[in-house]
Amino acid sequence: MNSRQKLRIAAISTAIIAFAAASGSAIAQKKYDTGATDTEIKIGNIMPYSGPASAYGIIGKTEAAYFQMVNDQGGINGRKVNFISYDDAYSPPKAVEHARKLVESDEALLIFNPLGTPSNTAIQKYLNAKKVPQLFVATGAAKWNDPKHFPWTMGWQPNYQDEARIYAKYLLKEKPDAKVAVLYQNDDFGKDYVKGFKEGLGDKAKSMIVIEESYEVSEPTIDSHIVKIKASGADTLLDFTTPKFAAQTIKKAGELNWKPLHIVTNVSISVGAVMKPAGFEYGQGVLSAAYLKDGADSQWDNDPGMKKWIAFVDKYAPGANKSDSGLVYGYGAAQTLHKVLEMCGDNLTRENVMKQAASLKDFQTDVALPGVKINTSATDFAPIQQVQMMRFKGEKWELFGDVISSDAKD
């Protein structure tokens, strides 16, 4: 190559760069990180489709169906969503393998809604080091709201500790002399509730709690624990259990003709999976808190948001059991991500995704309770913080009181 040619190439390339710079500022600037192009956005996801927590697998399937619907409607800002979901069988080492595959091999823009506290803990450090968003994790542990140390990780649902604090607040107000029994699952889930509940009671925790009983998730039945708790003379039962065990508890307490003030967690409020198998007659008066609507609850039949949800289920998940709360949860989480990606516009960098996710203002998904709004900021990585107390009556939950913000410190 002679020097004149070199000169010409240099001149042309300078011109191109200048043109590109000029046009860049003139037309809306398109910016991409790995995983996003003019036509596609790659989203990674990790779910326990098999193994001990496989019941949650429906969440991943719902999310895949949701993005199928989005694609059928033309995608997000003209880009199709490529939703890649892997099965970690609830095993942290497998979750690490899949997270790395999604980031390094599939080159996803972000990891969305991976499920389970252990699996998310296992991949958190890696994703933050790689600066890949770990967005809207499907666990209610309190530790996901930590933008200072983990600026690439964000939760979604109200956290267990805050929820338990609301129950404590309710008890202190309504039944300050209660003799409380605490039943919890011996894992991160149960222990988070116990911690929040005790903190909520404060100094009165020691005098109010008469018995603390734990069970292992592998136990086939927890009937013997209920008998023991009843014998303690408690008149209030804080039931920090997952759906199967909540149903057993409600049923056994009813069979023993024991009628404590019974509070179950938000995880176990499914009418179809908990209240019906437990027996509606035993479930009367049970308390809990909610932030999402129940798909099997007839009071939402004419709700515009739920109508959209029902149309979605009928078309994209035909035959699915509408009482499965995973269908509602997956829809809500996917819709939140949909919103964030819309807000990103043509700037689909990982940094902007986190920035937009942290700029949600009063966003309401179709499936959230009226008044439950998603708000985030650069210092607040806990999207949903509002719940409403409710009481089981007849064959459905009746909401009562105001929507309570669980982060209120009073």
Partner: protein, 340 residues
């Protein structure tokens, strides 16, 4: 000896001993090719693949450990996940709470697990065959719960687990963390492999195999049956512990849910697929448990378990003695080709 035990260990008998003549050189050539492949592959693949290969080696070590126990001394264990967990937690606690260098945690984890396995070996002496399998099964089921106990929570992190820092390449080597850890694991695996081969060829190894083949005859010849049986348990547990420690460093996280009974089953599966009693097969067995679930998931998400079962069935049906049978078939084919 139970019938189950015999059916598994009998076919191992004629081929476990060192092959002679031509096939020995062929075997040696194959191992050399394998070794060279393991050495150079990391330069051509992404970090993610390197990580998968590291996990492959780690599970390979754990399968090898089980192979020494079952293939060597004829004892069963469905509790390897417990030893793996103890090794992993030992390494994690030493690194995070004790500030111990990661390389030093391996021998410590190995020794702790050796003692643990040796002690467990004593009650196990009274059991044989499927009863021993059940006793070790109980150990595997109990382990995740023990790790959650409040008493140890300060050290184990309880249900939340422990996050482990990944080591950088030393001496300023221009290597990614993944690549360094891969070579580190490769060296450890090779050392363990050579030591295991030598162990099985030694006097102790012959004593173990004598027990496997016929316990009464072995005792009559003067083999200290209980001593060698517990020793096999200890060695197997110790090696599994080293694998667990390496696994904790590679995954950077330990939690009770990582070491459930499913891991024990997976290791057992790896041993059967690799060929009971054939140490090089451990790597093939590990490859099966690392990659086949991913393949099954690729076929169908909802039915991944069923497809895994089908693939396993195909393997067991076509090559009931695992990878060793594959190797023997390949060898005879090779010889046939050379003759013609």
């Amino acid at each position: 000896m139970s019938t189950l035990q015999e059916t598994v260990s009998d076919p191992a008998a004629p081929t476990t001993d060192t092959p002679v003549g031509k096939s020995a050189t062929l075997g040696r050539a194959a191992s050399l090719i394998m070794l060279v492949a393991l050495l150079i592959v990391p330069f051509f693949v992404r970090n993610f693949i390197i990580f998968q290969l590291t996990m492959l080696l780690i599970y390979g070590i754990a399968v090898l450990a089980l192979n020494i126990l079952t293939g060597g001394s004829g004892q069963f264990s469905l509790g390897q996940s417990a030893f793996y967990a103890v090794g992993a937690y030992a390494a994690a606690i030493l690194i995070e709470h004790g500030g111990v260098n990661y390389a030093l945690t391996l021998p410590i984890a190995g020794v702790i697990c050796f003692i643990f396995g040796f002690l467990f070996g004593f009650p196990a002496l009274r059991l044989s065959g499927i009863y021993l399998a059940l006793a070790t099964f109980a150990l595997a089921v109990a382990m995740p719960q023990l790790l959650k106990l409040g008493v140890f929570e300060h050290w184990t992190g309880g249900v939340q687990g422990l996050v482990v820092t990944k080591p950088d390449a030393p001496f300023g080597l221009p290597m990614s963390q993944d690549m360094w850890l891969y070579y580190f694991t490769l060296v450890v695996s090779l050392l363990i492999y050579l030591a295991s081969v030598n162990l099985l060829r030694s006097r102790s190894g012959r004593a173990m195999m004598a027990i496997r083949d016929n316990e009464i005859a072995a005792a009559a010849m003067g083999v200290d049956v209980s001593m060698y049986k517990t020793l096999a348990f200890g060695v197997s547990a110790g090696i599994t512990g080293v694998a667990g420690a390496l696994g904790a460093i590679a995954v950077q996280f330990v939690a009770p849910d990582s070491y459930t009974f499913q891991l024990a089953i997976a290791l057992f599966l790896g041993m059967v697929v690799g060929g009971v009693g054939w140490l090089p097969g451990s790597l093939a067995g590990a490859a099966f448990i690392v990659f086949v679930p991913n393949i099954a998931e690729g076929i169908s998400k909802g039915l991944s378990g069923a497809f895994f079962g089908i693939l396993l069935f195909v393997v067991i049906y076509l090559v009931p003695h695992g990878a060793r049978q594959g190797a023997i078939i390949a060898e005879s084919l090779f010889n046939k080709l050379r003759r013609s």
